[in-house]
Amino acid sequence: MTGVLASLGALLPAPGELLGIVLLSLVVSGVAIVISMLVGVPVGIFLGLHRFPGRAFLVTLVNTGMGLPPVVVGLGVFLLLARSGPLGGLDLLYTPGAMVLAQVVIATPLVVGITLAAIQGLDERLHLQILSLGASRTQLYLKLVKEARLSLVAALAAGFGSIISEVGAVMMVGGNIRGQTRVMTTAIVLETRQGEFASAIVLGVVLLALALGINWLFTWVQQRKPA
């Protein structure tokens, strides 16, 4: 048994490096999903509550955005951040910041779309009832978030799941630089290309275990009975 563990250890990147990869994956995707929720939830609520000219077009954009191919997002963000691009001056390309930006672009439409569906799934008179009890516009939004929280946890889980497991965009804008922008998915790609299948499998198992753990946490929050 000790021998097996020793062999397995030899297949992995150094513990410090592995920890760094895992942490960077979590930080990049964590920051991206927080930004996506902060932007996507209010936008989803607004689209769910209000009717205005051009709304149908916006909803179509959101729905299309929910299925955006990550490599296309990667290309778009790359062109945006490239030295000759409109945001080239920020010097973000091949940094975790660029990876966060790409993941925000991927996750936000998912969050908006699921929030929109959640708000539209509530009884349409509920917001009238909340306003009739004296809520301000902000208090209305907060109450609707509370009432739709189960669906919003689903938005969180779907958004986070889509970006923690995404590889195309972060590879293009992050560059998979060892110790700087290497995350679990890009590391798996690299190990596979180099024929280090065992190492890739171990990294894959770690990624799956993390995804499982985080989704278990989301599910627990979503399904627990309120006090």
Partner: protein, 370 residues
């Protein structure tokens, strides 16, 4: 002074005017029942009264002062509303009742006291820690009312709050609600489809149709003295007969309806085209007696055309030679039994001149509530 007054208010949606009111004023402390068919604009009117929808035209006055738009939240917080569905939030019964107080920034301790008092008032205090969405229909509606009443609103808007409940619970809750509203001097607008409910609680009744106010007045006026054929039909008058005033005296009008002559206590000028309204329950069905009726009494011989059983009462249609069709009368079971009413049976329909309300006719005689 009125609590709220609407003047020339119009609400337009998708380019169509869905509410147009010349004037409607709510008196302090009154309970106004709002009646009207589906699509009449009742819920739209409640939203306007709640200052949630800005009218396309007109002025809303609160105690004589025009409301500025968007309506100040402090003003909006003097109004509360409850709907047909309780629309309870997730959380406990107590948390539901606390919500309106919490958005007003009432300190938690004081808010809790008020909420518990409101729950006691509506007799659901024993359920304060239950999940609100596990309550029965009646309990949920009581909670919804407690949630509105705890705010001590100056204006309470109720959009068919008991429509989904069984009749006995509905009656019981309505009685309790009326007592609470009256005891606290809350001005209340109560939307209902049930005319009986409206009459049992209302100080005044307003009838709305196609976004327009047809009549607002004391229940007896709306019932016995409808302002238009549409109101008469909506109030289930039963008999609305088109005729012309042929003669008037100081206390009576004589109205020609086809080949029949009616007496009415509504005095109108000779030659006025009118709709003569006679409520079904005002018509006495008797065996044929013959002879001339007493002065001012309407008596028409005829034959029973049909009898429809409604349980406690029976709906009798009597062919008495009126061009608009048979007269309609409501009789008790006992009368129907004693007279052995059946189709073809000869009877006399009798009603007093004071039972005949005349409406000067304008517009199409087919103007109806639909």
């Amino acid at each position: 002074m009125s609590l709220v007054a609407l003047r020339g208010v119009e609400v337009v949606r998708d380019g169509k005017t869905i509410l147009s009111l010349d004037g409607l004023a709510l008196r302090e402390g009154e309970l106004l029942a709002l009646l009207g068919p589906t699509g009449a604009g009742k819920s739209t009117l409640l939203r306007v009264l709640h200052l949630l929808d800005r009218p396309a035209a007109g002025v809303i006055e609160w105690r004589g002062v025009p409301v500025a738009w968007p309506a100040p939240i402090d003003l909006r917080r003097r109004i509360a509303m409850a709907f047909q569905d309780p629309l309870l939030f997730s959380g406990t019964t107590l948390e539901n009742v606390l919500y309106g107080l919490s958005v007003r920034g009432v300190p938690r301790g004081a808010a809790r006291e008020k909420a518990e008092e409101a729950l006691r008032l509506l007799r659901v205090d024993h359920l304060s820690h239950r999940r609100a969405r596990t309550l029965s229909g009646g309990e949920a509606q009581r909670t919804a009312l407690a949630r509105a009443l705890v705010l001590r609103p100056e204006l309470l808007l109720l959009d068919e709050p008991f429509a989904a409940l069984d009749a006995p619970i509905r009656r019981h809750l309505l009685e309790e609600l009326t007592q609470v509203v009256k005891a606290h001097g809350i001005t209340c607008v109560y939307v209902t489809h049930e005319q009986g409910e409206a009459f049992s609680v209302a100080d005044r009744i307003a009838v709305l149709r196609r976004g327009q106010l047809l009549q607002a007045g004391a229940p007896e006026d709306v019932l016995l003295r409808p302002a238009s054929r549409a109101v008469a039909r909506f109030m289930q008058t039963g008999n609305v007969l088109a005729g012309v005033v042929s003669r008037r005296t100081e206390a009576l009008s004589e109205v020609v309806v086809g080949e029949r002559l009616l007496f009415s206590r509504t005095v109108l000028a000779k030659g006025t085209p009118v709709d003569a309204c006679v409520r079904r329950e005002e018509i006495l069905v008797e065996p044929p007696a013959g002879g001339a009726p007493a002065p001012g009494l309407n008596r028409f011989p005829g034959a029973v055309e049909s009898v429809v059983d409604h349980g406690a009462t029976l709906h009798v249609r009597i062919d008495a030679g009126f061009p608009a069709g048979p007269l309609q009368a409501l009789v008790t079971r006992r009368v129907a039994h004693d007279l052995a009413l059946r189709p073809g049976h000869p009877v006399e329909a009798t009603f007093s001149a004071s039972s005949v309300h005349l409406i000067p006719r304008e517009g199409s005689p087919d103007d109806d509530l639909s």
